[in-house]
Amino acid sequence: MIITFKINGEIKTQEIKSSLLLIDLIRDVLRLKGTKPGCLEGECGACSVIVNGAAINSCMYLAINVDGKEVTTIEGLGNNENPLHQVQEKMLENGAVQCGFCTSGMVMTTKAYSDKCIAEGITPTREEVKKSLEGNLCRCTGYAKIIDAAEAVYKK
């Protein structure tokens, strides 16, 4: 079937099998390799992308469901003038990246959450920030610096 969607600001029309997973559309069809396959069972969050403002596990989401929607992957952050989004900058400044395999997912989850909080005029507590990252696993960092980075997004 044919779906039309916006990905990283660009409108695409694509013929796909109805069983295609969003992660496979992103990685194998569109060849955007920044979205990482950590478990393909919805447990680790490495494949998190943003669909219509919400971070989702792209391994648990059928590609047909993005028809008419807006998808942002890690490649969609930043631009030529500012290659890194603020969330990415904070991750680097706070030492939140070690092997980096979970990082794309951490960044996308944090971006979706902080966009929502900022839009609602909320500054979340550290506990709320921790909770927002609960679906993203990391084996290198012990999360502390990722949480620091996600909190730093709200600091001027």
């Binding site: 909770k131 012990g142 610096k145």
Partner: protein, 814 residues
């Protein structure tokens, strides 16, 4: 000093530590700053200040290329058929149906290949025939045009088995009546039992004499679970074989590329130099990539047979089923102390579940015996460890390399001895702690030692007194526990060389390329190397490149293990910098007509006595003017450590790391849930190189250590893994992570770059020990096995209640 003298000295270790001064201040703690090592004397601008990860922008933007992201023209996808049963005879393998599936390019079984066994004991066939010995055994492999086709083809391969009764308990495997599990094992000839894969024995001191001196003797059995690395990136490899010249290129996430090159060559009967190993960005290592595993030569065999590049990527389930684990083991530890609490002896017997084949993991006793012999002052020690074949999956190496297991038993026994003696748990540790200048019974020479400062720091910072004094009634009970550790800090001389090579190239534009033998597996080693070059040569970060991923290019290094990379690669780089400075000094002196070697390197320039010349100009003059030289140097660093003798005695590392942790927990006596509230960790790191990187190593190690203590366990039933997913295997999440308070101790050890010591493994080593001691402190019940799950806590509490009730009834009767 000769090895013999070490051993002689070690027979009578001094048993009283020197008097320590006041408690160290908050923050970094400097101890014994008497070294005259020249890099320590000068003021440092870069080292000791936090620097972002060198390639952090690539990693944070999704641009870094991991093994999963590699695509080659005409590349095929491989898939492996594994044994259906953990113990069986293979009657027949029929691949005919699978071969007819459209898109399948080739299938291999053991009958199609001419290969050598692999593994540390060469007891592991790459593809199995005749018998299967564990659930992860590789029976056949398919290369197909897509991963889906390869996976489907695997399902179409028909294998007939004769199921056999397996042996899943190492104690059963040791019985005479047990079947021989691994037909290549040499246990009968070497160790007097057919199912013993490896045996280690160590001893020092007079055990009988020390036992006689002991006021308290504690003998306990500890049981350690099987856990796994759970790297966020699953195992992966891409292989391309060139038929024209017989050369092989591997994109592999090994953490020991030069040993791996040799292992692949041996397995496939190739010349090592025809194998080029390229490391893409590695999505987690932690020791899992120390061994070469069967899927890697299998991928090459598929590439050779199909004539096309082949990629194998594990699914997460396959990662749980078929990647290495930490060694599960049963430790019988007997320890003693005299009436003053001074330790007298340790006697330990360990039975390790080796699984069906032998990996580097079987050599973990090499590290464990160091802790038993030398963590705290121990006048006599006897250590025996048997790794025993079973039909369980084989265990590999994992951050800490046996030390978390050893430390859990040692620190638990220390608490028990203190309780029996009625002594304070802090005091018994402080009076027995290691000290500067000590040469241990095993011959480890602690030229610097932060053990006592680390202990004192965590005791003070954790508010130990306050927690102990607080009332502990009601549903939630709090406790605090201590744990300390000793680990190699300056590499470990276990291979023929423990060295690392560096090539430096300063180009015509003043950019420096560091080609290092060492590897980046996420731990931040290349950032530290760039910092050292910035510090020494005054070149800005933007002008430094680190090349470290290609065995055809980089000089030799033994690999990422033993917390050695910053130490060994840092020293190697400092040696190379010394050489390149000699070249630059000579040229600059000639150009400016001065006689000096005292050039200062700053902001891309060389300065002396008011004169200044740009670094790139010196390099260009070297290149373009007679006698036309390139500004390149090579250096190989071999640490000053020594091989241990046949009795495992000797100073095996360039220096030694010490750490203590004080961990506060809260136990919910209704649910049994243990929550870690605060972790205070103090570690002798020699000198802090990159604070933000070091802190990250601490937090990450602690998270794995807490998981080991409380939540992680691979549940096996008769050789079959019951929880091969992140849902069933409980790693810590962001909400489980406690606050970490880290206090580095700086002892400025002469052997390390700027006085530093290896740090990466240490943070998870004493964690389970400290948590177990804290839970015991909270509840008055001790746990002798990990993980301390809610179920175990509740069972222990109900048993305690029952015991109390029974003893009350007994009292009433009297």
């Amino acid at each position: 000093m000769l090895l013999r003298q070490f051993i002689k000295n070690s027979s009578n270790p001094p048993l009283t530590p020197p008097k320590e001064g006041k408690l160290p201040p908050f923050g970094r703690v400097g101890v014994g700053q008497t070294s005259n090592f020249k890099t320590m004397k000068k003021e440092l601008n870069i080292i000791g200040k936090s620097h972002q990860k060198l390639d952090g922008k690539e990693r944070v933007s999704g641009k870094a290329v991991y093994g999963h992201d590699i695509e080659l023209p005409n590349m095929l996808h491989g898939s492996i058929l594994r044994a259906k049963y953990p113990c069986a005879e293979i009657i027949s393998i029929d691949t005919s149906k699978a071969l007819t599936l459209e898109g399948v390019e080739c299938i291999i079984t053991a009958n199609d290949v001419d290969v050598n066994n692999i593994g540390y004991k060469r007891d592991h066939p790459i593809l199995k025939k005749g018998t299967v010995n564990c659930n992860r055994d590789e029976i056949a492999a398919v290369a197909a045009q897509t991963k889906e086709i390869a996976d489907k083809a695997i399902q179409l391969i028909e294998v007939k088995y004769k199921i056999k009764e397996g042996v899943y308990d190492p104690f059963e495997a040791l019985k005479e009546t047990a079947p021989r599990i691994n037909e290549f094992g040499k246990g009968a000839e070497q160790f007097g039992n057919k199912n013993v894969a490896e045996y280690f024995h160590y001893e020092h001191g007079n055990l009988a004499e020390q036992k006689a001196k002991s006021k308290v003797i504690v003998k306990k059995r500890y049981e350690l679970p099987r856990v796994t690395h759970a790297c966020m990136a699953t195992s992966n490899i891409t292989a391309e074989f060139n038929n024209f010249d017989g050369r092989l290129t591997l994109w592999s996430s090994t953490q020991v590329p030069f040993l791996y090159q040799r292992d692949i060559a041996h397995a496939l009967k190739m010349e090592p130099s025809k194998i080029r190993v390229i490391q893409p960005i590695i999505g987690g290592g932690f020791g899992s990539k120390l061994d070469m595993h069967p899927f890697e030569p299998i991928c090459v065999l598929l590439a050779k047979k199909s004539g096309k590049p082949v990629q194998i990527l594990y699914s997460r389930e396959e990662e749980f089923l078929a990647s290495p684990t930490r060694q599960p083991m049963v430790i019988d530890l007997t320890t003693g102390c005299d009436e003053n609490g001074k330790f007298t002896f340790r006697e330990v017997e360990i039975i390790k579940d080796n699984g069906a084949y032998t990996s580097w993991g079987a050599t973990t006793p090499f590290v464990m015996m160091q802790s038993y012999s030398s963590l705290y002052q121990v006048p006599a020690c006897k250590f025996d460890s048997h790794a025993v074949y079973t039909n369980n999956p084989f265990a590999g190496s994992f951050r800490g390399y046996g030390n978390p297991q050893a430390t859990f038993s040692i620190e638990s026994n220390i608490d028990l001895m203190a309780e029996e003696l009625g002594m304070d748990k802090r005091e018994i540790r402080l009076i027995n702690a290691n000290y500067k200048g000590e040469i241990t019974g095993q011959g480890l020479h602690f030229k610097t030692c932060g053990a006592i400062p680390a202990l004192k720091t965590v005791i003070e910072k954790s508010n130990y007194d306050k927690i102990m004094a607080a009332p502990n009634t009601g549903r939630y009970k709090r406790g605090v526990g201590l744990g300390s550790m000793l680990h190699v800090g300056g590499g470990a001389k276990i291979y023929r060389s423990d060295g690392c090579g560096t090539t430096l190239k300063l180009d015509d534009y003043g950019y420096l390329t560091i080609v290092t033998g060492s590897n980046e597996i996420g731990q931040g080693s290349e950032t530290v190397l760039a910092m050292i070059a910035m510090e020494e040569l005054g070149i800005p970060k933007e002008k430094i490149k680190v090349i470290n991923t290609d065995t055809d290019v980089k000089p030799w290094d033994v690999g990422v293990h033993a917390s050695r990379t910053s130490f060994v690669a840092g020293n190697s780089l400092l040696g190379a910098i010394k050489l390149i400075k000699e070249k630059l000094n000579n040229k600059a002196s000639q150009l400016l007509n001065v006689k000096t070697n005292e050039w200062e390197y700053k902001d891309g320039s060389m300065l002396f006595n008011g004169q200044e010349i740009k670094l790139d100009k010196v390099a260009r003059e070297m290149h373009f003017a007679s006698p036309h030289e390139l500004c390149t140097v090579n250096y190989f660093y071999e640490p000053p450590s020594r091989f241990q003798d046949k009795d495992f005695k000797g100073d095996v590392s360039g220096n030694y790391a010490f750490a203590s942790q004080a961990i506060e927990v809260e136990v919910d006596t209704v649910t049994g849930n243990v929550q870690v509230l605060n972790v205070h960790v103090s570690q002798d790191v020699g000198r802090v190189l990159n604070p933000i990187g070091l802190q990250g190593q601490m937090e990450g190690g602690l998270a794995t250590g807490i998981g080991y203590a409380l939540t992680e366990e691979m549940i096996y039933e008769k050789g079959i893994l019951k929880n091969p997913s992140f849902h069933g295997y409980k790693m810590l999440t962001s909400t489980d992570m406690p606050d970490v308070h880290f206090y580095p101790i700086e002892t400025y050890d002469e052997a390390g770059p700027y006085g530093s010591k290896g740090a990466g493994e240490a943070p998870l080593i004493p964690t389970a020990a400290a948590i177990a001691n804290a839970v015991s402190n909270a509840l008055g019940v001790r746990f002798y096995s990990l993980p301390i799950t809610a179920e175990k806590v509740l069972r222990a509490l109900s048993e305690k209640k029952l015991e109390t009730r029974n003893s009350k009834q007994e009292t009433n009767k009297i």
